[in-house]
Symmetry: D2
Subunit: 334 residues, 4 copies
Amino acid sequence: MELKVGVIGTGAIGKEHITRLTNKLSGAKVVAVTDVNEGSAKEAAALCGARVEKSDKDVINASDVDAVIVTSWGPAHAASVLAAIEAGKPVFCEKPLATTAADCKKIVDAEIARGKKLVQVGYMRRYDKGYLQLKEILDSGKVGAPLMIHCTHRNPSVDASYITSMAVSDTAVHEIDVLHWLTGEQYKSAQVLFPKSTSLTHSKLKDPQIMILTTESGIVINLEVFVNCQFGYDIQCEVVCEKASIKMPDPLFPSIKMDAEYSTAIETSWKRRFIDAYDVELQDWINAAKAGGAAGPTAWDGYLVGLGSDALVKAQETGKVEPVNAGPCPSFYR
Amino acid sequence: MELKVGVIGTGAIGKEHITRLTNKLSGAKVVAVTDVNEGSAKEAAALCGARVEKSDKDVINASDVDAVIVTSWGPAHAASVLAAIEAGKPVFCEKPLATTAADCKKIVDAEIARGKKLVQVGYMRRYDKGYLQLKEILDSGKVGAPLMIHCTHRNPSVDASYITSMAVSDTAVHEIDVLHWLTGEQYKSAQVLFPKSTSLTHSKLKDPQIMILTTESGIVINLEVFVNCQFGYDIQCEVVCEKASIKMPDPLFPSIKMDAEYSTAIETSWKRRFIDAYDVELQDWINAAKAGGAAGPTAWDGYLVGLGSDALVKAQETGKVEPVNAGPCPSFYR
Amino acid sequence: MELKVGVIGTGAIGKEHITRLTNKLSGAKVVAVTDVNEGSAKEAAALCGARVEKSDKDVINASDVDAVIVTSWGPAHAASVLAAIEAGKPVFCEKPLATTAADCKKIVDAEIARGKKLVQVGYMRRYDKGYLQLKEILDSGKVGAPLMIHCTHRNPSVDASYITSMAVSDTAVHEIDVLHWLTGEQYKSAQVLFPKSTSLTHSKLKDPQIMILTTESGIVINLEVFVNCQFGYDIQCEVVCEKASIKMPDPLFPSIKMDAEYSTAIETSWKRRFIDAYDVELQDWINAAKAGGAAGPTAWDGYLVGLGSDALVKAQETGKVEPVNAGPCPSFYR
Amino acid sequence: MELKVGVIGTGAIGKEHITRLTNKLSGAKVVAVTDVNEGSAKEAAALCGARVEKSDKDVINASDVDAVIVTSWGPAHAASVLAAIEAGKPVFCEKPLATTAADCKKIVDAEIARGKKLVQVGYMRRYDKGYLQLKEILDSGKVGAPLMIHCTHRNPSVDASYITSMAVSDTAVHEIDVLHWLTGEQYKSAQVLFPKSTSLTHSKLKDPQIMILTTESGIVINLEVFVNCQFGYDIQCEVVCEKASIKMPDPLFPSIKMDAEYSTAIETSWKRRFIDAYDVELQDWINAAKAGGAAGPTAWDGYLVGLGSDALVKAQETGKVEPVNAGPCPSFYR
C-alpha cells in the first residue's frame, strides 16, 4: 500500500523531492502538487503523473492525499503546516519550520492541542552517516561526557544577496539543529566573533564569523562559518569529551599522488555532500507517515532552531553574549 | 508501471534481494518465488506477498513474471539462466554465472543466438562508489596509462570449509571482474605465490596468497588474498599510472583520539562494505529490465571471470605462470 | 674554536642542555656550572668535565666563559640575564624571561641601552619543523592573509599542583610566543571561556579552557587548553587564510591495522614532541653566540609573552575581553 | 677527546660527510683528505681545516688518523677498506661495500682474520626513524610473525645514464639491506616482473619493475621500483603480519585545503628524505669508532646485499626465479 503524497511548492527542492519519491524511494507516490507559479506546478506534475491543485488547502484537504510535503518559500511554511495539523495529516516541512520563533511556537501549540505528532522538519543532517556515527560513539559512554565541540561550516563562495545575518539563518541553522540533537541539550547562550574579513567578501557580509553557543550543561560549541573560503564545502565536527576526541569523517574520495602532492578531493557542493541523507530522511518520513505519524526533527526542534538563530543574530548586532531560553521541553516531545 | 519479478533461490542472499526490492528500491515487485527448500520459499514469499512456485521453470514461464533473479546455489545457475534466455526474459544472476567456463560459454552463445542482451551477472563492485571514482580518474586521461595495480582482499577469518582453491573462486573473483572492468582489458597470464602461511590458518588452506595477473597491454596486477588477517575486511586498490598513483578510499568512520592512539574503525563485514553497491546494482537492473534488457556485467564478463579463475587455480597447483586466453570479445558485447 | 659556556641552574632542563652541548651539538663546551643546590651542580659538572662556581655572577664574570645559559627557576632569571647583559655576554634564558612583564621590560631596556642583542629566550617551537613549514607557506603569499587560527594544547594529565592560572603561564605561553612569530603581529585582546570541566580534574583547576586572542589586524586565535585530556600530548595548529586552510602535521608514527582499527600512535611526552626543536634551537644559539650575538626569540618577544599572559590571567578572573597593549615594537628589535 | 678522521674520496657525498662532521655532529674532526682529483681534495680540505694527502694509503696510515671514511667511487672501495682493516683502523664505507660479491667476501674474510669488527657500511635506512619504529613494533611480538612486505621505491625521474640493471644496483639495494635487517633473515630467491613500461622512460630502461624476494622462513617481499613515476620520491613499506599490518609513516608536511583539494606535499629529494638518518648514522659511527670498533651494517651485511643484487640482476635477464645462497651467517657477525 503506497503513501499518497501532496506537494506544496515545486521549486528546485520541491522537484527534487518529487523525483526522489518517484524514482528512488520505496512506498510513496505523489498524487497532487501546487505552486504559486502554475507553470512550475505543471512541470512538477509531469515528473510524477500527479494533478495540479489550485492552493495548499486544496492539496491538504484532497481526500486521496494521505500526507503533505511543504517545500514552498519560508514565509508560507507556517500556514501550510498549521492547515495540515488541522487536517490531521502527516506533514514534512522543509527548513525553516517558520520564519519567526513565535510562528514555530504556534505550530508546537497546535500540534500538542491535536494530541499527535504530525510534523517533521527537514533538518537532514541527523540522517547523515557521519553524525550518526558520532552519536553512536557518544552514546556508547566509553568516551565520557562531551565538553567542547569544534565545527566548521565552509562554502566555496556566496553571491551578493547573502548578507551577514544569513550566516545564521541560512548556514548555522544546520549546526544549531544537529548539535542540539547530538548533545541532547538545549542552548543557554550565544556569542559571535568577527575576525578580520576576507578580501573576497562584499560590503554587506562579514565573513568569516565565529559563533559560540553554550548548552545547559556547559558544553561550549565553537562554530566557524566561512562562506567564501574558496576551497570547498567543508563541514567539520570534532567533539572533545572527557576521555577522547571524536571527529566526523570527510566524504569519500580517492587519494592521488601526483605532481609532488598527495591529495584527496574536497566536496564543493552542499547538495552532493548530504544527498544520501536526504534519501534516508524522506524514506524515514514515508515509513512514519504511512503509520500516520512523523519521525526525525519535531516541531519543538524547529522552534529551538528558531530561538537559537534569533539569539545569534542578536549577538551579531550587540557584540555581547546573548541568552537563549526555551523553557523545558514539553513532555509531548520527550 | 512496476517490474514484476520472479526469484529463484531464497537462501540468505535471495531473501536480502527480495527485501531490497520490496522496501528500499523503486519500481519493482516480487510476484513469485521458488526454492528447493519449500519452507524457505514460503518464508521468502511472506516477506513480499508473493506466491510460491514449484520450480525455476514455473517462475520463468509464469505469464505475470517480467524478469527473473537467480540466487540459487552456483551449480544450478546455468540451467535457470539458459531457461530465462530461452523465454526472452531479463535475468539477474548472482555470481558465479556458472561453475565452469564451458557453461559460461554456453550462456554467451545462447544469448548471442537470441540476439539480445538479457543477462546481468551480480558482480556488484562495479557499482561501488570507490571503484567508480577510480575509473572516472583513469578515464579522464590526466594520470596517463595504468601500469600496475596493487590490491588487497583481506577477511578477518574463514572457517575450516574454506580451502586453498576458494581463495580464487570465492575471493579473488571479485577483483578478477572489477579489474577487467577498470582497465578495460582481458587477462593474459596468471601466477600464484605462497608466502609463509599464518599460524592462524588450517591445514587445507594456504593463507595468505599473492596472485599476479597480467593484462593484454602488460599491466601487472598484484593481489594479496589474506582471509585470516584478523584485523578486518580490508579491500585496497592502488592503480599506479604513468603520471600518478590513485588509491581507492576506505569506508567512512569517525576518527578517534583515545588512549594514546589516533584511530578509525576498519570494516569487518563484507556485506556492510558493499551494501550501497548492492542497492545501486539492483536499481540499475530494475531500470534496465523494465526496458527489456540488462545492465552491468554481461555474460561475456561472467565467462572471463571463469577463465581467469581457472588459470589462477591451475597456477596454484603448478607453481608456474599460466596463460589465459579468451579470444577477442564478440562484437555483440562491445 | 669552541664556544665556552657557563650554565646557571642545573635542574632537569639544565642537565639536558649540558648533555646536548656535550654529546650531540657541534662547537660548544660547558666549562662552568652553578646551582643553589651544590650537589646538583657537582653532578652536572661531572657530565661535562666543568668546574663548579659559587654563584651566577661568578659564572657570568669568569674570564673563560664566553656565553651563558640560564636554566635556574623562573624568579631568578631576570637578575642573571641582567648581569649577563652588563657583562656583555650572550645569554640563552629558558622561558619565562622573567616572571613579571615589568622585569621583562627592564631587560628590554637594559639590552637596548647596551646597544647589542645578547638575549635569546627559550621558546623552542619556532624551531619545530611543523611551525616552520606553516610559516613558509604563509609567507609564500599563495594562501592569502591569515584570518583565524584554531589550536589545541592538550596534555594527558597534570598533578594537583597545577592550578587554573597555570593553563596560561605553563601552557598557553608556548602558543602566545609562536603565534606572534607565525603571524608577525602583536596581540590586541584576550578572553577565556570555561566549558563544563572534565570530571577528571581537581577543584583548583578549571579544565578545559578556551582562550581567544586577537591580533592587531584582527586575526582571531582560538586556543583549546585541555591538560587532562587523557589521550596524549596533542598540539594542533590550523591557520585559516583567505584562500586555503593549512594544518601543522602530527608527529611521525607507523600506521597499524589491528583489531578492527586503523591507528597511529599519539605522542604522550612534551619532551619527545619537541626534542628535535631543542637541538636546532641550541645549535642556532651556539652559532650566534660564537659571533657574539643572539638568535631566535628576543627579549622583546619575551616581554610580549609576559603581557599576553597577564591579559589572559586577568580574563580568566573577570570573564571579560581584556586589552593587551605593548606599544610599537622598538626599532632595535625589528 | 675527538676522533680524528681521514676521508678518502671528496665528491659530493664526501664533502657532505665532511661538513656533517665539522658543523653538526659531536666528537669528530677531519684531519686528512684525499681524492684522485686534487682540486676537489683541496676544496674539501678547506671546508674543515684538514690537510691533503696523496693517496688512500697515506690517509689510512697517517699516525694522526684514528678512523677512515671511504667515499670514493664504488670500484675503489674494496682496496681502501682492506687497507684500513690491515691497519686495524675503524672504517666507514659508503655503499656499496664492493662492486662484486666476491670482493665483499674478501673483506668479510679479512675482517674475520683480523678478529675485530672494523667495517661499517653506509646503508643509512636502518637509522631512519620510520624503519626503526617498524622494527620496534615487529620485535614487540604483538603483531605476530611477518608474512609479506609490500614496498615501493619511486623516484620522480632519472636521466639517460640510468639503465635497467641500475634499478637493482642503485635503487633496490637500499631495500635489500634494510629488509634483511628488518626481518632478521637472509634471502632465498629473487624474481623480477616487467610491467608495461611507462612512456616516460628511455629505450635502455625498463621502468617500472616489480622485484620479488623471498626469505629463509618464506616471507615474500614485493618491491615496486619505479624511477620515472613523476610525482615524488616515494618510499613505502608495509609489513603484513599474522595479526596486523604495519606501515611506515610518510615524511611530515602540513596538510593544505585549497582549490577543492586536501593535500600534503610528497618528498621529491632522496637526500632530504633521509637526511636525519645520515646524521644519526654518522654519529653512531663516531661513537663506535672512538671505542675502536664499528656499528650498524657489517661487512657481512654488505656481502648479503651483493649476493641479493646479483640474483636480481640475473633474474632481470632470465625472467626466472633465481636462488640466493649466502650460507649461514658466520658466528663472528652474529
